[in-house]
Structures are given as structure tokens and as C-alpha cells.
Amino acid sequence: MQIIACVKRVPTTDAAVSVTPDGKGLVTDGLPYMISFYDEIALEQAVQTKEALGGEVTVLSLGPASGSKEIRECLAKGGDKAVVLTDDEWMTRDARATAKALVAEIEAQGADVVFMGKVATDRDNASVGPMVATYLGWACVTDVVALELGEGGGTAKVETEAGLETLEFSLPAVITTGKGLNEPRYAGLKGIMAAKKKPLEEKTPELEANQAMVASLAPPPPRKEGRLVSDVNELIDALRNEAQVL
């Protein structure tokens, strides 16, 4: 089975981020990076699928040429080869242009199944997965928290607002992964040594112009200072009359 895991390099979730002077982006100098949380789950699912059904896992990422450490870590965790579509503007590339670039490479590589996180933890777009499936004309299941996959198709449990929904789908498919689907493994030291010898190819993709642009970016307003109340009656009064939530 040909398996592709799409991953995005994002600032670490504990990184102290600041907005650029033009108010449209993040200061990226010195930012620590990681593979997006949900993409780690996608990679793990891709590796588990390979371990269960055989085949090969290709790690695919749109990102900077200098971001090889995080991609190499994906190879240490079980990816067989990696393709980086180099784009120094990857952080601000919109979902549509990102999806189109990924689709061109997925079509060139050929795949039975593509895994990616349900959302990237930097911009919370959540739309690249469905867009990739749409451009490819493939089945798409999103926010998958349980999965059974065989030759030709599978069954997925999907989180919805109403509860768990069970879906059957045929391959090829794009599956976006949610929290709880699996527990991503650590990069073992032997895996890190093996990853050095695995192919990591950088390609220059054809990128379409963004259609969604960031107009402005601002940190959330500071939270108002809390107030200590002296008893329950005062708390209920404040909730009822000031906050008006009761």
C-alpha cells in the first residue's frame, strides 16, 4: 500500500510568539518548531498502516528548505522517504494553494491513502485535507478517532457535534486524524540513525497565489483581572447581574 503522511512544521505550542511590526505575520526568528500535533497522529497512523498492511510511507510537507530536522524526525519515527515542497512563505500560504501544491505531488507519487492532521496547530485552517480530497476526487473522512483499514476501503469513527459517527469509505481516500486515534511513538535512537540514510528530497513546487490573505494579526486582548468574592451569595449575584450568565 502506498501511504502518504502530510505534515506541517509549526511553531511549538509553548513558543512565545510575537507579531511583526506590519501586523500581518509572526516574528519567526529564533522560533522553535515542531510537527503539528495532529500531523504527528497522522504520521503514526501511516506507520501503523504500513506495519499492518505492508507498503511504504512517504512523508510530504510544504515548508522551508531549512526545516529538515523536523522532517528527518518523521523518518526516524517510521517514514520511508520524504518530499519537502520548499516554500519559505509556508506559514502564510493559504489552504487552497497549499492543497494544490500537495495534490500535484500526491498525483506524481501515486497513493492509496493520504493521512494528515485534522487541523494544523498554527493557523487552525482545517481545510487543507478536504480540499486535497476534493481536487483529487477521492473519498474524505475528517477528524477520525478510530480506524479500520483494509485493501480497498475501511471504516472510520468520526467525532461530530452530535457524537461518534461511523463511516465506511473506499480507497483511495484522504483521512484527517483527530486526537485519540493513536499515541504517537518517540523517535528511537536507532530510528534516528536509520533516518540519516533515508531519502529526503526537496522540490520546488508550482505555487498558486494566495486567495485568502491575512489582513491583520493581533494577540488576544489581555484578560481582565479576576475579582475575589466573599461568599456564594455574592458570586451568584455577580453571575446573575454582572456577567448575566445565570
Partner: protein, 388 residues
């Protein structure tokens, strides 16, 4: 709280991509899997044995041993970074891994027969077998050459008698590398944990390295075939070379302990309000922080240079002595200063600094005391031995 490593001199640039990957993998494991367990095990004076399979899966047992024997074939700088990250968790965790790798797997790889390597190394790398290293005796620590444990030839067999003390991982071990006096000098033996006459009672009531098992080894007419002797280990140089390998890891590990304490005290001092402003805003606090950051940075540079020299096969035991001596001493001083900055909280195990402080008192003494390493450096500088 997320660990923020002090890197005042941008040392990140000095590490290769592989080295950073190794460090980050062990760092993530330590933060997510080990630290949540550590406080309770320290308090209960137990080692969390449930992490052994995870450590093996991670590959930290004998990582510099070649892959054909179950190791990962990593560089010495990588090994140092592994020790740094494990000891950021707890010196007991790093001790466990140091003993398994540097004091058990290393001598088998360096001095063992091919059969001994094939028999033991893969089992030790996978964590299936846990080993210990018996050199120190109740009355012979800094002067191991005076050891009283003997190995006597009887026909085709060796008969071992004696006692070893302060042995990490002794109780329940599958294998003890025991050093004993023979008629031809000091020799090393692979003693299976279930050998008749061998026992390893645990040493209780420690207030340091509590999340680590420390044992006495008792050998009463332990009979071993000659195939249990390490054939290429001749004289005291063999166990001392094992200690050089372990001390190298300690020089790095101590940096990890210092980083953990510093990180905790720095974060605390910025949040703790005293006299209506953060503790970190006072000159006395800043002096402490600046001095600690300076010492950590110097220790990081010392460890890194030592590692680069070791990877080029140019590192001397005296350089290792200087690095172990300095880095453990500054880590202990830093732990004490951080304990001070944490105020009363510093004596609570809810904060990690007190645990590191207690542990580092052992690390200061084991694997060559601070004073003995001072004399090793003194001898290298003057050509004069001041040991006796």
C-alpha cells in the same frame, strides 16, 4: 511547566541535526513519561521499573555500542546529550542508564569474548537483562586497588569471595560485572544474578538517589567457569576505563540537573511576588541567576568540547576528571542556590530542585570523588602524584 533550556551562547548552532534529534527525543520522553512518576518513586525510594521497556525502545542502553550487538552506534556527543536529558529528570535515572551502558555493556564490548558479547549485549540493550558493576567495597572506594574480593582458581573453575558496596542496580540484577583480585592481578567476571552464593541485598535509608536501587553484593564461594572471566581485562586499568566512560556521561548529566534547577528557579523568581514585585527584579536574585547561568554555560562548553575530543579519540582521563569535577560541583552549588531562591518551597518534593540537590551529593562523591579528580588534574599538571 514546560522546560526552557538555558542556551545563552547559542550552542544550538554547535550541534548537528542528528545530535539535536537525539536530545529532543530523550527530552520529550523524560518530560512526558518519566517526570510524572519521579516524585512518588523518590519519596517511596523505588526505581520505576515500568520505564525499563520504554528506555530500551528509545534505545538509551549502550547507545554507542555497534548495532550488530544491539546498540545504536551513536557518537559520544549524542551519548552525552542523552545523559544530560535523563539527568534533567533525575540523577537516579541517569545512573541506571550509565551503569547499564558504560559499566556493564562497555566492559563486555571492550574486554569480553565474542561469545560473551553475543550472549549478553543484545539482552542488555533490550532491557531484558539489567546489569550492575561491582568495584567499590566497604573499605575501598577511592583506592580500588586495595580490594579484598578474591577469585581463586580451582581446576577449571573460579571461586569468588568478597563484598561490594554502593552498587547501583545490584538487587534483582541478571548480571553483575564483578572485579576481583587473582594471583595474576585484578580480573573481571560476569556473575549471573542467580549464581549460587551470590546475593544483592538493597541498601536502605538513603536520602540521595532515592529513585534508584543501591545494593551490597555478597559473594560466598561463587563458582564460575573460566568462560565467565572477561578475557581481555587485565589489571585495574580495565575497570578504570569503564569509569572513564561513565564519568564522561556524568559530566554531561550534571549539566542536565543544573539546567532543571535553574529553569525552575528562574520561572519561580519571575512569578513570585515579594515586597510587591517579582523576586527576579531584586539585585540579589539577579546576581544569583547571572552567576548560575554563567557557570552552566561554562559547563555546557566544557562538556561539548570533551565530547568532540572523545569522538576524535583524543580525550584523556584527566580531561574527563576536570569536566566531571567541575560540572558536578557547579551543579551542586546551583541546586543549593536554587533551593534558596525557592524559599520554603525548595524543601518540598513538589519542586524538583530539592530532589536534585539531594541526588547531586551522591554524584559529587561517586565515580571518583571531587577530591580524587582534583588530584588527577593536579598530577596531570605537575607530573607529581599526591594520592598517597
Amino acid at each position: 511547566m514546560v522546560f526552557q533550556q538555558l542556551d545563552f551562547f547559542d550552542l544550538e548552532d554547535e550541534y548537528s541535526e542528528e545530535e539535536r534529534m537525539v536530545r529532543d527525543a530523550v527530552r520529550a520522553w523524560t518530560s512526558e513519561r518519566y517526570l510524572p512518576l519521579c516524585m512518588d518513586h523518590f519519596e517511596a525510594a523505588t526505581f520505576p521499573t515500568e520505564v525499563v521497556p520504554e528506555l530500551a525502545e528509545l534505545g538509551v542502553f549502550g547507545p554507542t555500542i555497534p548495532e550488530e550487538y544491539g546498540g545504536a552506534g551513536l557518537s559520544n556527543v549524542c551519548y552525552g546529550l542523552i545523559c544530560q536529558e535523563l539527568e534533567r529528570g533525575d540523577s537516579g535515572l541517569r545512573s541506571f542508564v550509565s551503569v547499564q551502558g558504560s559499566l556493564v555493556m562497555y566492559p563486555i564490548h571492550a574486554f569480553g569474548s565474542e561469545e560473551q558479547k553475543r550472549t549478553w549485549l543484545p539482552r542488555l540493550a533490550s532491557g531484558e537483562a539489567i546489569g550492575c558493576f561491582g568495584l567499590t567495597e566497604p573499605d575501598f572506594g577511592s583506592n580500588p586497588g586495595g580490594m579484598l574480593t578474591t577469585a581463586r582458581r580451582e581446576g577449571d573453575e573460579w571461586v569468588l569471595n568478597g563484598r561490594k558496596m554502593w552498587i547501583t542496580n545490584g538487587t534483582g540484577c541478571a548480571l553483575a560485572v564483578v572485579w576481583a583480585r587473582t594471583e595474576e592481578g585484578i580480573a573481571g567476571f560476569l556473575v549471573p544474578g542467580d549464581a549460587p552464593g551470590f546475593s544483592a541485598p538493597e541498601q536502605k535509608h538513603k536520602w540521595s538517589l532515592r529513585a534508584s536501587v543501591t545494593s551490597e553484593l555478597v559473594l560466598e564461594d561463587v563458582r564460575l567457569p573460566d568462560s565467565a572471566r572477561l578475557p581481555h581485562a587485565r589489571g585495574l586499568r580495565a575497570p578504570l576505563s569503564c569509569l572513564s566512560s561513565a564519568r564522561f556521561g556524568i559530566a554531561w548529566g550534571a549539566v542536565g540537573a543544573a539546567l532543571a534547577c535553574f529553569d525552575e528557579a528562574l520561572a519561580y523568581s519571575k512569578e513570585r511576588i515579594v515586597f510587591d514585585k517579582p523576586l527576579a527584579g531584586f539585585q540579589l536574585a539577579q546576581k544569583k541567576l547571572a552567576e548560575m547561568a554563567t557557570e552552566i554555560t561554562k559547563a555546557q562548553l566544557l562538556a561539548l568540547r570533551l565530547g568532540r575530543l572523545k569522538d576524535q579519540d583524543r580525550c584523556t582521563p584527566q580531561q574527563i576528571s576536570m569536566a566531571k569535577r567541575n560540572n558536578v560541583a557547579i551543579a551542586l552549588d546551583i541546586a543549593r542556590t536554587c533551593r534558596d531562591m525557592l524559599g520554603a518551597n525548595g524543601v518540598s518534593l513538589e519542586y524538583q530542585t530539592g530532589r536534585h540537590l539531594c541526588n547531586l551529593e551522591s554524584v559529587y562523591t561517586y565515580e571518583g570523588t571531587h577530591d580524587i579528580h582534583t588530584l588527577a588534574v593536579g598530577q596531570a599538571l605537575t607530573g607529581l602524584s599526591a594520592f598517597r
